[in-house]
Symmetry: C2
Subunit: 256 residues, 2 copies
Amino acid sequence: MKKPLILITNDDGITSKGICELVSAVKDLGEIVVVAPDRPQSGMGHAITVGDTLKIKKNKTFRDIEAYECSGTPADCVKLAKHQILKNRRVNLLLSGVNHGSNTSINVLYSGTMGAAIEGAIEGTPAIGFSLCDYDPKGNFSHGIPFVAKIVKEVLSKGLPKNIALNVNIPAMSDEQIKGIKICRQADTRWQEDFDLRVDPYGRDYYWMVGNLINNDQGQDHDEWAIKNNYISIVPCHFDLTSYQAITEINADWNF
Amino acid sequence: MKKPLILITNDDGITSKGICELVSAVKDLGEIVVVAPDRPQSGMGHAITVGDTLKIKKNKTFRDIEAYECSGTPADCVKLAKHQILKNRRVNLLLSGVNHGSNTSINVLYSGTMGAAIEGAIEGTPAIGFSLCDYDPKGNFSHGIPFVAKIVKEVLSKGLPKNIALNVNIPAMSDEQIKGIKICRQADTRWQEDFDLRVDPYGRDYYWMVGNLINNDQGQDHDEWAIKNNYISIVPCHFDLTSYQAITEINADWNF
């Protein structure tokens, strides 16, 4: 039987530990092609490069596995991979990550990891974004990797609903403590930003954005709850932002 | 009565024609503060600046109207405006645009204009992104501006459902031809990319991303239909990417 074609990308850049762990975990499950950013692209969400050029270069990080580094965003990598590198061959599965840091709840919107996965879903490719809830670039992935392989196998065997990307988050802990996997909704959270004001050597102000995630969502069926309770969370994401309820409300209320 | 506080941003940069038109259209409807990118930020989606610094500078483009240019993305502008410039004063309305180019259907995901508007919605601020379906930097806004003012007045008077940002697109034409306003869903489209391969003076390949929007959505209740039929389209957008239907399907199908 022909091996499935698995495209791998990320947002921390092609040399990060997380993408190496991901490639190792799945390299025997299909034909692997890696197309990932040539530098960190955290927080890039679904950004694409318009009005500027893109470059691709062969990369040797993964030895005998075909790999390319790209000057663009994670979503650019998916577009370039499909149309330029794979010449529109059918990709059976797109994997993105493993991200260094949580992409639960509202973070899905800011996440380059999930931007790439959702780009895959738009193109009709089953897609999974993986994130470890640990921001350490040397984070310990060992407890999560068996679950990564398990989820990939399940998706390869059963497929995904059409145009869906899975947002998978793995709690930061050891093997023994993970209780299992929960299919969840996206928790209703937001960031309370704070800006760290500094002065540069030339006397000019600049800021670093910092902040805390505010979670007032009391549910037990969402991804923040799952992670806090030592489960791996999986949120199936689509890309229709329409609020159908709001259409009804606005049509009833407005006069045009 | 106290004037409503209206925050204005965009993704084409603070000196673009579209934001000047927007400021002119609404300047008598409230207290206006402009915080917009210091350079074009098209295609930035919901990107935010992490791992790099941000700068803000007073800007005189709008004469007596308080304005700042920011080194970051449209979503950064909203965060900086709220927390740093307005010191957490309650913003009554966030406006983004008027964008030079369509943000209908799948474009909402790549749009910096809508990234800013959705950032407002996350923070609980009623928000509207305006786009003119004309990519010309000198595009003609005159036919759309009366509708912009009308929609802003309606939202100031009636509010919006909680955590909703409106995605408003204006067809490129003259006043007489606009048939009215339609509240729509997001059309189901995708881009068929093409990459224009060139060689730089040093012999290295580079690409420009180009492409065509593929619309196989046969509905008549979506934004692409509205624009093609000379209506202004309004899609109410939320930011919960959960596919609740996929949760049910996956829970029924998978074994963990």
